[in-house]
Symmetry: C2
Subunit: 297 residues, 2 copies
């Protein structure tokens, strides 16, 4: 399988253009040399296309962590619930939010509210690959099912972490008042205080910059003050509902692969000429599992 | 002193508009009830106005941490070195960068390169107020001279941390190849791996959203591919060089004040109806020292 584009570029150095003599494999080298088996095709049944005037944003859903919310969001998408709704909020260094602010649209087979899925007990079949570095918020952090996640080994509890690009289901004060009719994506410093307080449902794997560069709302909490400021959503579509040749064939690096372990080493130690004091550490939100477009089969 | 605007809004909850019954003083209450002595006027001699088509961005410089760079940047500003230069790079979830990409402009009394000021040995007169929570990257983190900072108590070494809105001096491979002719501001997840690898010179205290919402560059590392995409800088001005009535009278909450301690408690424990599992922790980059506009004297 040949690779034609790499979408998720990890944080790169503040070079002003001069060449950098590599002393260890570069990130690009690591990815270019990776075996095809270290990558997984995104499941079109758990991939959403959010299309709006700014282009397409692609979201990978996380059924392992939020099965009921994922099922509900797909039911809502299939009922065309989101089509014609708007992006209603862009709060700098925090979130972009979209959905049914007036709670008036028909839900089809979907539901407006669901029992929260903030965390779950890890099972034998769940894989959790921890990072060795301390975390401010959780006893352990790492990657699970391709997503950044945290774990409390004392209770075998695991949950997704609010990193840049993660997508969650907004709610009111009641823990069970969310469900996916209102969704948000993180566009700033990871608001980890939200972990286990909101149900995270997936992450943006392509096009986050189409959301993060939107005009900030000037109302309270970054809401757009007037209806004309809102940005209409053309449609949210489950990729599986499109003919194969209309899907974007994305694949993600397996977070349990040797290649991803090499990526983490690269990001932790930065063995190149530019870095003088390599951190030797990495925050779970400072390394994004790479996603790329594969040639169509 | 009456307060008319609060600029730096800390991360707020994902409410969809309903009221929230407070069980503990809210952040707004804490700030509204704070004594005037807990605030400090920004020193106009260490305040920069970056004016461009998108409006004004205000930067507080950090002479405690980077005295030579701060002096040099002011000399460059006073030589009108920056006026007419451009924003040349906007990399999503990373940095906005501006300056003299072609290294051709006259420097006045300024210099193009300086010895790095990545960290310094803390002195008796430096105050460092640590956070109690663990940090991924440093032995201790907290606030010093109003800025987010880290410390290694084993060597009494202290340095500024790459949080959202922090401003640094881009450099090439040589540690001493920066100086302030190229500057960047962080607009994404804190790239803490840069700590002690680049000289940080201050932080954006007003208008970061004017930078963070700019169109992303489509070239390598987020550089704009063509000259017309670049965004011209009208001028960078030292506030002290303007008549008093043309300055923006900003004040920052002292990070060694009782009010800021209350802000930190509020952010760590979030005792309100919305949060179900308060983190009880805070990342040094997840709380921004509040800055507000005071009435003119």
């Amino acid at each position: 399988m040949r690779v034609i584009t790499i979408f998720a570029i990890l944080g790169l150095s503040l070079m002003s253009g001069r060449s950098m003599g590599a002393q260890a494999p570069s990130l690009a080298d690591i990815l270019a040399g990776s075996p095809a088996t270290d990558w997984r095709r995104l499941d079109p049944e758990n991939t959403l296309y959010l299309d709006f005037v700014g282009g397409r944003v692609i979201i990978e859903l996380a059924p392992t962590f939020a099965p009921a919310h994922v099922a509900n969001i797909k039911a809502l998408a299939r009922a065309h619930f989101y089509d014609g709704l708007s992006i209603v909020r862009v709060q700098d260094n925090y979130v972009v939010q979209w959905g049914d602010a007036e709670a008036k649209r028909p839900l089809g087979n979907g539901r407006r509210t669901l029992k929260a899925e903030f965390s779950h007990t890890i099972t034998r079949s769940d894989r959790f690959d921890p990072l060795p570095d301390p975390d401010t918020y959780a006893p352990a952090v790492g990657f699970s099912a391709g997503f950044p996640a945290a774990m409390d080994p004392a209770h075998w509890e695991t949950w997704l972490t609010h990193c840049y690009g993660m997508v969650g289901a907004g709610r009111d004060n009641d823990a069970d008042s969310g469900g996916g009719a209102e969704l948000y994506a993180v566009i700033g410093q990871a608001p980890r205080q939200l972990d286990r307080n909101v149900t995270l449902v997936g992450r943006v794997v392509k096009g986050i910059e189409r959301l993060s560069a939107l005009p900030r709302g000037t109302g309270d909490l970054g809401f757009y003050k007037t209806a004309p400021e809102r940005i209409p959503i053309r449609a949210i579509t489950v990729a599986a509902d499109l003919p194969v040749d209309q899907r974007v064939p994305l694949e993600a690096l397996r977070t349990d692969s040797a290649t991803f372990a090499a990526v983490l080493r690269n990001r932790r130690f930065r063995k190149d000429d530019w870095y003088k004091v390599p951190a030797g550490r990495i925050d779970v939100c400072n390394v994004t599992p790479p996603v790329r477009e594969a040639l169509r089969p």
